[in-house]
């Protein structure tokens, strides 16, 4: 019974995704067209990349609220550089440097100064937002068309953002599943104390998780620049919530130690995007969007809590007779 419930919960994102697609497809004809679905995947790629990075931080039972602000800060710097005459590759390189650097700051605040992740990254959120506003002087910056070309260019017929997103998800998945680093990250998320006792360098590991998250934030910033071609004060606003919700919807636990980059992050991000697109398709009142988005976040967290409680109940054993039986059976084997 509990096992079935757990399996259902573990695949909840697929069920929800299917439910959302069918509902909006029924309400708004055309929502389920191939073009619309492909568009949905491309649109959700920045959030998927953010969620992939967020997965690493959530894995060690941390959280990074600053990803949206890091996107904005990096984009503002890149925009300023482009308008100042630097080449696009240089601007992109600067963004990809700033992301991990911000992540390093977060990581050091958490591991060296022992500031709670929630507060430390809330602080860097305001720092990043403030920095971005200062650099842009609160005005929207229209960037050269080269960024938009970047966003709409195709490689082998596949849009570049999709390729970048796929590469990030693949690399993140390999890093988490097939390297000692990933396995130790998982162990640390279960219990940092036990991990330290086992001889794992917990501080370095946790810092690395924030650096990865920062790098993904910068990449997501590039993807959004490719979609918008402009940096406004609202660039990346509230993206941290979408990223956390996507990762958690995709099965990564806020309690640490459980989850995966793929397919969870992608499905979670696509689900959130599908809700947004669906609301547009049925001409819903725009003031309703935040209400619906927050409902999605609540559902994500509720699912996670249910999973956690069920798992604790399912694995708790107090010497049942079956245990002795199973034991002698296995001893005989």
């Amino acid at each position: 019974m509990k096992r079935t419930a757990l399996i259902l919960l573990d695949h909840a994102v697929i069920l929800l995704f299917a439910g959302v697609l069918l509902t909006f497809g029924f309400l708004a004809p055309g929502f389920l067209s191939w073009a619309s679905l492909g568009n949905l995947l491309i649109q959700s790629s920045p959030t998927a990349v953010l969620a992939a990075g967020m997965t690493f931080v959530l894995m060690v039972a941390g959280v990074d609220l600053s990803v949206g602000a890091v996107m904005a800060l990096a984009a503002a710097v890149a925009g300023k550089m482009m308008l100042g005459g630097f080449s696009m590759p240089l601007a992109l390189a600067a963004m990809l440097f700033m992301g991990p650097a911000c992540g390093l700051v977060n990581g050091l605040l958490v591991t060296r100064l022992h500031i709670a992740a929630f507060i430390a990254t809330l602080g860097t959120l305001w720092l990043g937002r403030g920095g971005a506003l200062w650099i842009t002087e609160t005005r929207a910056m229209n960037l050269p068309d080269s960024f938009l070309h970047l966003g709409s260019s195709r490689l082998l017929g596949i849009p570049l953002p999709g390729i970048i997103c796929a590469a990030v998800l693949a690399a993140g998945n390999v890093l988490l599943e097939q390297t000692p680093f990933g396995r130790q990250l998982r162990a640390t998320g279960h219990s940092a104390v036990a991990a330290a006792k086992a001889g794992i360098n917990v501080r370095r590991l946790v810092t690395a998780a924030y650096v990865i998250c920062g790098f993904c934030a910068a990449l997501a910033g590039i993807l959004v620049l490719g979609q918008l071609g402009a940096v406004s004060p609202k660039f990346g606003l509230n993206k941290e919530f979408a990223a956390i919700a996507a990762a958690v919807l995709g099965g990564t636990s806020l309690f640490g130690g459980r989850g995966a980059v793929f397919p969870g992050s992608l499905l979670g991000a696509a689900l959130i995007q599908a809700v947004e697109n669906g609301l547009v398709a049925i001409n819903a009142n725009p003031y309703l969007y935040p209400v619906v988005t927050s409902a999605v976040i609540f559902v994500a967290v509720l699912l996670d809590t249910l999973r956690q409680r069920l798992r604790a109940a399912a694995t708790r054993r107090i010497f049942p007779e079956t245990e002795a039986k199973a034991f002698s059976a296995s001893a005989a084997a």
Partner: protein
């Protein structure tokens, strides 16, 4: 055959309190040595020295004839000494193979060599006789099987000596048998073991030699064949009382007519305590003895409403206690918790705030129920003086600045203000210097003289023997003995404390 490990005259003291006073012994390759001793005999400290977690004040250790001075647990493991601690250090969210190789995965470049990992893990699992595949999640295993995983991990570095700390407490009898079979087969391959356990029957059955520690020294040792359970208990118990105790002069009025102050009727919580029944009278000091993990602290938490119980009843002054701590404090119960630092004090708050913590509503004043510092101050001062609390800034400093003894006095002061009818003290003198201990003993006696019923949980036997009017003994969640002053003897207490530590039938006669 020369010794694998030689321990020579090890001495270790904490804050001037000697814990090991010159321990010396030898371990030979391919032997199993049983290490027994009561609470505070020095077993943990000795193991911490062996494991590199602590360094001795003097004395020497030699491993295979070479000086052995491990810097940390990793160095101990490299030298060939592995530990299997009572508390397992495993990760249920990882697979068996990942648990076994967490810190030294076989890798190529950045990637785990999965096939090599699976092969090596399977070999280790086969060695301890676990039939599971290496990619089974640990959470699918029973506690006993997890214990075997921990041993497989200990085997990973091909250790010469494995130390098993209370490995059988969470195991069912067949799981125990399996563990013993494993120990014997590894022993045949030349691996030595130190087996630490309170299950004396198991120790006699499994071990070749036995070493008894008492008060930080080797009290007895020899071939297991020369020992009986009776001899073990006698060696562990010892006799003389070292600490000075204030005499128990005023005895409670022993009129059987008066109703008991606290009455516990058949309290049971599966897996924690079973059929606990006892009474506590006004002015009585009731000692509660037992080994670590016997369930004493769990019982205290249950009485105080911090943990649930499935059946049975707890009555204070004839009224059934229900609800959480808040309701029970109001009813007249108080609990001084075992781990002061974790759940006894608010370390960062001031001494005075800590003292007032439990009784603030009673001192609220005026129609708005506000607190007035001017009114609180004399109250705090009075109770601070009564417990001989020494503070520098009239109690305005954070409590964590005080010594352990003064912290404990502040917590006592908190409960004195609440004027409880029954005070439960869980290890009230742990980590406290001798002078402060003496003062706390005096306070306990004064409280009892004033009519408070005191339930005193302590692992220091002398303390219980000196202060208690009656002593209850717990073992594995049950009451296994009751002794009334003056019929106290350390040996009978220890025997009762060891009851229910089942021993397992010989598997290979």
């Amino acid at each position: 055959m020369s010794a694998l490990l030689e321990i020579d005259n090890l001495v270790k003291a904490f804050h001037g309190v000697p814990v090991l006073r010159g321990v010396g012994f030898e371990i030979r390759a391919g032997t199993v040595t049983g290490l027994v001793g009561g609470n505070g005999a020095g077993k943990s400290t000795l193991m911490n020295l062996l494991g590199g977690n602590l360094r001795p004040d003097s004395g020497a250790m030699r491993l295979e004839g070479r000086v052995y001075e491990p810097e940390n647990s990793a160095a101990a493991a490299r030298a060939g000494i592995s530990f299997v601690h009572q508390e397992l250090n495993l990760f249920p969210n990882l697979t068996l193979a990942e648990n076994l190789f967490l810190t030294d995965f076989p890798i190529r470049g950045f990637f785990i060599r999965r096939s090599v990992l699976a092969r090596q893990a399977a070999a280790l699992l086969a060695k301890v006789g676990l039939p599971h595949t290496p990619d089974t999640p640990l959470e699918h295993l029973t506690p006993g099987e997890r214990q075997l995983v921990e041993i497989a991990r200990a085997l990973h570095g091909n250790p010469k000596l494995i130390i098993l700390d209370e490995p059988t407490t969470s195991l069912s009898p067949p799981e125990c048998e399996r563990l013993f079979r494993l120990v014997r087969s590894l022993q045949a391959e030349g691996c030595a073991f130190i087996f630490i356990s309170h299950a004396l029957g198991d120790v006699l059955q499994l071990c070749g030699r036995i070493l008894v520690l008492r008060d930080g020294a080797v009290a007895d040792q020899g071939p297991a064949g020369d020992f009986t359970i009776a001899r073990l208990v006698t060696s562990m118990a010892g006799r003389e009382i070292k600490q000075l105790f204030p005499g128990r002069t005023e005895l409670p009025v022993a009129d059987a007519d008066t109703k008991p102050l606290l009455e516990v009727r058949g309290v049971r919580q599966p897996g924690v305590v079973d059929n606990i029944r006892f009474t506590l009278r006004r002015g009585e000091i009731l000692g509660l003895s037992g080994l670590m993990g016997a369930g004493r602290t769990e019982l205290a938490r249950l009485l105080f409403g911090l943990a649930p119980h499935r059946s049975g009843e707890i009555l204070l002054d004839g009224k059934t206690l229900t609800g959480g701590p808040r309701a029970r404090i109001r009813a007249g119960l108080a609990l001084l918790t075992e781990s002061r630092g974790e759940d006894g004090i608010c370390a960062g708050a001031s001494v005075n705030d800590n003292i007032m913590l439990a009784t603030l509503p009673a001192h609220a004043w005026g129609p708005l129920g506000l607190l007035s510092n001017a009114r609180l101050k004399p109250v705090v001062r009075k109770v601070s003086e009564s417990v001989h609390l020494h503070t520098r800034r009239e109690g305005a400093e954070p409590l964590r600045r005080l010594s352990g003894g003064n912290q404990q006095k502040a917590v006592l002061a908190r409960w004195l203000l609440a004027e409880p009818k029954v005070l439960i003290l869980d290890e009230p003198t742990r980590g406290i210097d001798a002078a402060a201990k003496f003062e706390i003993y005096q306070l306990i006696l004064a409280l009892a003289a004033a009519g408070t019923g005191v339930l005193l949980i302590s692992s220091e036997q002398e303390e219980l023997l000196a202060l208690s009017d009656r002593i209850l003994v717990m073992s594995r969640g049950r009451l296994t003995g009751e002794f009334v002053r003056p019929d106290f003897s350390p040996e009978s207490l220890l025997r009762a404390a060891l009851a229910h530590h089942h021993s397992h039938p010989e598997t290979h006669p």
